[in-house]
């Protein structure tokens, strides 16, 4: 084969053939890829630097705070919110994030129930040794106190206003977290069924705020009379 390729740089293609189209496409693609890569890199660097900067700042301020005694003590009231476990219904296969309930709020509720209703005392006592009348006497204390503690700190309303035992109809798109279907679940909404339990929901919550150093794990302090 004696085909020789002459290289003439002055030549200009006159026809825009398939090869040239492919070539141009490849060049454009590579260029875009390069730009994207560069941007990603730049962002990455910027973030890393910010974090570093923040860390450095925090460290220096911490050391500053340690060396300089702040004259006015800072009072922090930590507000506790009971977090409800909530299932996120997203179609994407991303991992579901479950909220962690803060222990302080739970401890606080136990503290309130113990203070007002002697709740822990009652639960922890072995009731097998007592007759029903004695337990009934104690149950009054617990019931009355729980009632007071709950009413003071939570506002409770029923989820469904209907009469229990009556037939109700759930429209399409009802809130499945507020109404639970049971039994013969077939077909499409609207569903008609019997209201078994009206449900409860908290509409307002007013838990005491705690001072910074408060040990919430002490539900009831030991009492010593002098």
């Amino acid at each position: 084969m004696n085909t020789t390729y002459t290289i003439d740089l002055t030549l200009k293609p006159t026809t825009f053939d398939l090869w040239h189209v492919c070539l141009a496409g490849t060049v454009a693609l590579l260029a875009i890829l390069l730009i994207v890569l560069l941007i990603v890199m730049l962002i990455g660097i910027a973030r890393g630097r910010k974090k570093l900067l923040e860390e450095a700042l925090r460290e220096s301020s911490a050391s500053l705070a340690a060396s300089i005694k702040i004259p006015e003590p800072e009072v922090k009231i930590v507000e506790k919110i009971v977090e409800v476990e909530k299932v996120v219904q997203a179609p994407a296969p991303e991992p579901v994030v479950l909220k962690e309930a803060t222990p302080d709020a739970a401890l606080q509720l136990l503290n309130l129930l113990q203070k007002e209703a002697r709740f822990i005392d009652f639960i922890k006592e072995d009731i097998t040794a007592y007759n029903d009348a004695d337990i009934g006497v104690a149950a009054r204390v617990v019931h009355e106190g729980c009632n007071k503690a709950i009413n003071e700190h939570f506002k409770l309303v029923v989820v469904h206003e209907g009469q229990e035992g009556s037939k109700i109809t759930l429209p399409k798109g009802f809130d499945a977290s507020a109404v639970r279907l049971t039994g013969n679940i077939v077909g499409e909404a609207p569903f008609t069924g019997t209201l078994i339990h009206r449900g409860w929901q908290v509409t307002d919550i007013r838990l005491p705020k705690l001072t910074m150093g408060h040990n919430a794990k002490i539900i009831a302090p030991a009492e010593v009379e002098l």
Binding site: N111, A138, V141, P208, K209, G213
Partner: protein, 657 residues
């Protein structure tokens, strides 16, 4: 002597240096300057945004406010502020009421930092719910009813005397300091919630019992000034309750009352009972309200009722051979209060079980069970505190035992209806000056035509019904129409709400109750009689402020001159009367009955040296003024140069007692 905050104050008004020839009457014109200046000074400061009312109660404090920026002719927005307070060590809660208790914690009692509040890491005193709950178990460190001490003759309210029963080691506070502590807590709570509108720049009204004497009113204002609330005005609690009722009626009050009405305000709180009469008259076609009479300070209230029930139940238990300890009585009192409320609120309930739980962790064993019946409640509370009596009955007063520990002068007769009968009979002539009010000739007591209730006790329908029944039986006995109950009052929060509304009314946005001084005041002067051996010198009472003297007015007694010695405190006996309405300034009484005039604590004038010779005698006369704030002020004015010295009320006989 009690020098905690010092009493000695000389006043020397700018225009005081008048010529000696100018008659004394003229030099009085500049008088109530001090307070009104302060008020205006704060108003200039961008103007108050809120009108705030503070009910400084014996057992609870409440703050209510009207947002003036959102109020116009048609309406106004009124709220009750939730007050953040410690409810137990380390826990801060917002409650509508701040219990008026102060607790002196031992330094080992609370963990470090557990008494922090949103605005301070370590408050000087524990006040509010935590004080009440800690104090219920450690009463020796609890200060309660400080307000009743303010009005207690014979003690120095600035001397550290509370808790009265505490052992030596417990640091004591004065009733005044306790009042300051409550106000300070309320002020700080306000500042935290409204950082851009300091309480010192708002219109502020503090309520006091109508029966507070001038010294107690002065102390309340002084406490407010002490925490920077210079602009505070005073308002009588029963008046405040009526303002609140007017506010809630949304203009309907004009239909529910008519000319000639006499409204009886019965305020039964946790610790005190306060009575007032307000007349409805007409002036130029408009309805006018005038407070015509106030009752005595009766230390009798809801707490006495709960205690009475607890002791009834205790007696019942002891009959069964069970001995109760003091903590059990405490728990029993608490249980009785709740059982009582349940029985009163539910007519179908006749018996409420009462359980006094064991203090240890074993709840089931060791708990004490008993019950409270409707019959017991009726006997103890309805018949005990509101007996059916005739209008001519009077409270029984036993002579006090010779040896009495220093304490509050609690009412001896628990029959509130007897106190009411005595009050109405005593005030028979209270409306003589008002032409719109016509009492029948044969009336043996003043006939109220309408009744307004206030105070938590009267939320119980059986008690309210009984009170109305007894009152109406007296009225029908004298062929008078039955009194009607004014509906729609908020018994717990009315006083604070009314006080906030009063600030709004003062801007000319509603009807005002005409009040003035709740009594007429007298100084005792030895009459110029030859001394008789073995007889105390005769004393005359010189009227220095008449009944109903209005805010911002002044009266002088130029004809009654005294010689005061420079540098020596001079004391006068001081009297008040809430029945002698006809006395004018300068009236001299040489005879009066014990019922007519009540002796208050002595008042004192000290003329400082200020360039004069000690021992020099300065001729002075007295002037009296009712300030815009609502306090009575007495001054001694020099004949020679118009110089003025303040007469101090707060010279309680602390050092002798």
């Amino acid at each position: 002597m009690k020098s905690l905050f010092g009493h000695l104050r000389s006043e020397n008004p700018g225009e005081g240096a008048l010529n000696a020839d100018v008659t004394q009457n003229e030099s009085n014109e500049d008088s109530p300057s001090e307070d009104s200046d302060v008020e205006q000074g704060t108003v200039e400061y961008s103007g108050p945004r809120f009108s705030v009312g503070i009910d400084l109660g014996t057992t609870h404090c409440v703050l209510s406010y009207v947002d003036l920026s959102q109020s116009d002719e048609d309406g106004h927005v009124q709220e009750v502020m939730a007050i953040p307070q410690l409810t137990s060590p380390g826990a801060v809660e917002e409650l509508m009421q701040l219990p008026s208790f102060l607790y002196q914690a031992h330094q080992a009692e609370l963990a470090e930092g557990s008494s922090a509040l949103p605005w301070t890491a370590k408050p000087e005193f524990l006040v509010g719910e935590i004080a009440r709950s800690l104090g219920s178990k450690t009463p020796i460190r609890l200060v309660s009813s400080a307000k009743s001490w303010l009005c207690h003759a014979g003690v120095d309210c600035k001397a550290p005397i509370l808790p009265a029963e505490a052992p030596e080691e417990v640091e004591r506070v004065s009733p005044f300091q306790a009042t300051v502590a409550y106000l300070q807590h309320i002020r700080d709570a306000w500042t935290q919630l409204h950082p851009d509108a300091p309480l010192a720049n708002q219109d502020l009204t503090i309520t006091v019992p109508a029966s507070f004497d001038p010294a107690a009113r002065e102390l309340t204002v002084e406490a407010a000034r002490f925490v920077g609330l210079e602009q505070a005005l005073l308002l009588e609690e029963p008046q405040s309750a009526l303002y609140s009722w007017i506010e809630r009626s949304n203009g309907e009050w004009r239909k529910q009352t008519e000319v000639g009405d006499i409204i009886l305000v019965i305020d039964i709180g946790g610790g005190t009972t306060d009575l007032s009469l307000i007349a409805v008259t007409e002036h130029d076609g408009n309805l006018e309200l005038t407070r015509v009479a106030v009752g005595d300070h009766i230390l009798l209230g809801g707490d006495n009722m709960d205690l009475a029930l607890a002791y009834t139940v205790k007696a019942k238990l002891e009959k069964d051979g069970k001995r109760l300890e003091s903590w059990q009585i405490q728990a029993l009192t608490h249980g009785c209060r709740e059982a009582k409320e349940k029985i009163f609120n539910d007519p179908s309930l006749d018996v409420m079980p009462l359980v006094v739980p064991n203090r240890g962790s074993s709840l089931i064993g060791g708990s004490l069970r008993t019950e409270l019946t409707r019959e017991e409640i009726n006997n103890v509370l309805v018949d005990g505190f509101f007996p059916r009596i005739a209008a001519s009955d009077r409270p029984i007063s036993r002579p006090r035992g010779g040896l009495r520990t220093a304490g509050l002068p609690y009412a001896q007769d628990a029959g509130i209806t007897r106190h009411l009968a005595a009050f109405l009979a005593k005030q028979l002539n209270a409306t003589d000056d008002l032409k719109d009010i016509n009492l029948p000739e044969h009336a043996s007591f003043l006939h109220p035509t309408a009744v307004l209730f206030n105070g938590g006790v009267l939320k119980a329908a059986p008690l309210a019904d009984r009170l109305m029944e007894v009152l109406n039986s007296w009225l029908t006995g004298e062929q008078a129409p039955e009194a009607r109950l004014l509906e729609g009052a908020d018994l717990d929060l009315a006083v604070a709400r009314g006080a906030a509304y009063y600030g709004y009314v003062r801007k000319g946005k509603g009807v005002r109750i005409k009040g003035g001084t709740a009594a007429s005041y007298y100084v005792g002067i030895e009459s110029a009689m030859p001394a008789v051996p073995g007889m105390p010198p005769e004393i005359e009472a010189l009227c220095i402020a008449p009944f109903g003297m209005e805010e911002g007015t002044e009266a002088a007694l130029p004809d009654d001159e005294f010689g005061l010695v420079i540098g020596e405190p001079v004391r006068f006996r001081f009297f008040s009367s809430n029945t002698r309405r006809e006395d004018r300034v300068g009236t001299r009484l040489d005879y009066w009955t014990d019922e007519e005039l009540e002796e208050l604590d002595e008042i004192e004038i000290t003329l400082p040296e200020e360039g004069r010779r000690v021992g020099e005698v300065v001729p002075v006369h007295l002037t009296s003024a009712v300030t815009e704030v609502g306090t009575l002020e007495l001054h001694a004015v020099s004949r020679q140069d118009g110089k003025r010295w303040k007469v101090e009320f707060d010279v309680r006989a602390g050092e002798e007692a």
